[in-house]
């Protein structure tokens, strides 16, 4: 098979992945986005910046993460399943990869304060962690509903010295936290850096966050080459909220024959059920009504409870380079338990979406017997114990 003719390595200069992306923000934020764009290009081309980031990722945050063969589950399913263990990263998820990159960039730009939106709280905890590490004040916007269901992460953020601002508008989840963080940024651009938690937002964020997350895919590709006789897996799968762990994973495999599968939450599936729209500064697939009012998604996994998706995924979907599927809450909870008992790994509800799809795909034949599957386990499940306890 030849390499697919899709080039998502870099968007256009105005931040387009095909028809998606761009920069749909108020005039007050355009110069700030321009400045982030210029600073990121310079930093990413600067070996000193890259080595400082590598140093922190390895010496502090726990890279590289292992690619763990899921021996017992593989045997049960009749496939070879490899888990890319982002759950082992400091703070408990892949979010820290991106945050350390952006926080170093913010520091290089002379900013003294970080703001972020968070859903599950994992990005908030990662940002609070980077703020503490680099001595920057941190404010995290979080929907009131998520504050209630992710109390542990709220307490972690506060322990790390961050301010957590409850958001009471709309569905009181990730979408509203993001809107509120953007409103706040307008008032504070002079000293404040907005640290987006996924491949979302105005250009250059979707591209920049993907670059900071591509370490997942780059590492996994090398590890898979060593672990698999064929060199590359047949299937690469990751969950998709905004799409950062999936985009980072896919980046390592775009030019291989591997099938790329992104798994959305049934109640928040912008790629599977959405239409073209503009939200939070970029054009992509969005869950909305016929007039363009944004829908309120519903997922047991707060990190996937978002009505949009990163523009790069909309582009990959249009070109058929990646396929996007959904699983429901019931399948997800079952997947958490199955993985826990088979492998001794309690993963996050978000990550369990990828596991649930593999479990189903083996029974439907979408994943053939004997196939090799590389799955990014984006985070660990500690934060979700209260949710799971309520269900048992």
């Amino acid at each position: 098979m030849t390499a697919p003719a899709v080039d998502a390595r870099r968007p256009t200069d105005d931040g387009r992945f095909g028809a998606y992306g761009g920069r749909f923000v108020p005039e007050s934020l355009v110069p700030a986005c321009d400045e982030v764009d210029r600073a990121f290009r310079a930093a990413w081309a600067d070996p000193a910046f890259r080595s400082r980031l590598d140093e922190i990722l390895t010496g502090y945050a726990g890279r590289p993460t292992p690619l763990t063969p899921a021996h017992r589950l593989s045997a049960e399913l009749g496939i070879t399943l490899l888990l890319k263990r982002e759950d082992l990263m400091h703070t408990g998820s892949h979010k820290i990869n991106n945050v350390l990159g952006q926080a170093l960039l913010a520091q290089r730009m002379g900013r003294t304060r970080l703001i972020a939106e968070t859903g599950a709280g994992q990005h908030g905890v990662a940002t609070a962690t980077a703020g503490a590490l680099l001595g920057m004040a941190t404010t995290v916007f979080m929907g009131q509903r998520d504050i209630e269901r992710q109390a542990l992460n709220v307490f972690r953020m506060r322990t790390l010295g961050a301010e957590v601002v409850p958001v009471h508008t709309g569905s009181r989840t990730l979408k509203d936290a993001c809107t509120e963080a953007l409103r706040h940024w307008v008032t504070a651009v002079a000293d404040t850096y907005y640290c987006f938690g996924s491949v979302l937002g105005p250009h250059p964020y979707p591209w920049m966050v993907r670059e900071f997350q591509r370490v997942i895919g780059d590492e996994a590709r090398g590890q898979a080459a060593a672990a698999l006789p064929a060199g590359t897996p047949d299937v690469v799968v990751a969950c998709v909220g905004g799409g950062s762990n999936a985009a980072g994973t896919f980046a390592g495999f775009l030019d291989t024959p591997a099938r790329l599968i992104g798994v959305e939450a049934e109640g928040g599936a912008a790629l599977s059920h959405g239409t073209d729209g503009v939200l939070h500064g970029f054009r992509s697939k969005v869950l909305q009504n016929h007039e363009g009012q944004i829908a309120e998604p519903h997922s047991i996994a707060p990190g996937l409870d978002y009505p949009g998706v990163g523009p790069e995924h909309a582009y990959l979907a249009d070109h058929g380079r990646a396929r996007y599927v959904t699983v429901n809450d019931t399948e997800v909870v079952a997947a958490v338990h199955r993985l826990a008992r088979a492998e001794g790994i309690i993963c996050a509800l978000e990550s369990a979406h990828a596991v649930a799809w593999v479990l189903r795909a083996v029974t439907t034949g979408e994943v053939a017997p004997g196939a090799t599957v590389l799955l990014t386990l984006s985070g660990r499940g500690d934060k979700d114990m209260a949710t799971l306890m309520e269900l048992t």
């Binding site: 920069r23 007050s28 700030a32 054009r283 969005v286 007039e291």
Partner: protein, 260 residues
């Protein structure tokens, strides 16, 4: 020249300061009575907000107004049908967010505005770099597309914005969302003055113009003011059209008699 800009220039050239109130569309059954009362009270243009579920540039008051209108079942089509039935005697301009425009398609959206008798369009999350398709759609319907200049806008961009915008220049007085403020920052007047040196379009100041005193101060430098949250707070608190119009009349008075 399109009808909105012809009007705003004529008012400005007569030596009258423009008063442009913002009213959220679809808020309550008789909401268009507020538009008529605003015109009666001396508004030169009335801005009609087409509410969006996620208004990124709006502060608490207009967020509340938008949520209330949507909760009451307001739709773009419904608001435009209401608008088509009134004639306030001054031009109306729609203010909304990009997603409502692009969902329908810029061409169809602009055609629907024109059919309803609306003469201008303001979309704060479509900055000048992204404006091309919308500009073309608006021009095809003789709608003026009003662009915003912010205190953060660098000098070269100001030139580009005043060149690409029409109707009037919407000068954002401060780095923030819409909402009432005790007074305008000093820098707002200086920005308006700088813009007037760049363009012959009327230059209006908005965001945080909350009182007669603020309107009078703004008009020392600008060709007029846009007033949103201060009116909408009263409307949300149950002000009748006559009461909200009464408030606007005090602003009219302040703009007409700068020396009082």
């Amino acid at each position: 020249m399109n009808p909105l800009e012809t009007h705003t220039r004529r008012v400005r050239d007569r030596g009258r300061k423009l008063l442009v109130p913002y009213l959220t569309g679809g808020l309550g059954a008789g909401w268009t009575d507020h538009v008529l009362a605003a015109a009666e009270a001396g508004a030169d243009v009335v801005e009609i907000g087409l509410p969006f579920s996620d208004p990124m540039l709006d502060g608490p008051t207009i967020q509340r107004a938008s949520d209330a209108a949507l909760a009451a079942g307001a739709t773009v089509d419904g608001i435009l049908a209401d608008v088509a039935r009134i004639d306030p005697g001054v031009p109306m301009a729609a203010m909304t967010y990009a997603n409502l425009v692009f969902r329908r398609g810029a061409d169809r959206f602009c055609a629907a505005l024109r059919d309803a008798g609306i003469a201008g369009l303001i979309v704060p999350d479509v900055p000048v770099d992204e404006v091309e398709p919308l500009s073309r759609a608006a021009a095809a319907e003789q709608l003026d597309l009003v662009l915003l200049v912010s205190p953060a806008t660098p000098a070269e961009r100001r030139v580009e914005i005043v060149k690409r915008g029409s109707g009037f220049v919407y000068t954002v007085s401060l780095m923030g969302t819409t909402g009432e403020r005790p007074a305008l920052p000093e820098s707002a007047g200086a920005l308006a003055t700088a813009l007037k040196q760049l363009t012959d379009l009327p230059v209006l100041l908005g965001f945080g113009v909350s009182s007669a005193a603020a309107a009078r101060a703004a008009a020392e430098h600008a060709d007029g003011v846009i007033v949103g949250s201060a009116v909408m707070r009263k409307v949300l608190a149950g002000a009748t059209p006559a009461e909200a119009g009464g408030f606007l009349a005090t602003l009219r008075e302040a703009l007409d008699r700068p020396d009082d």
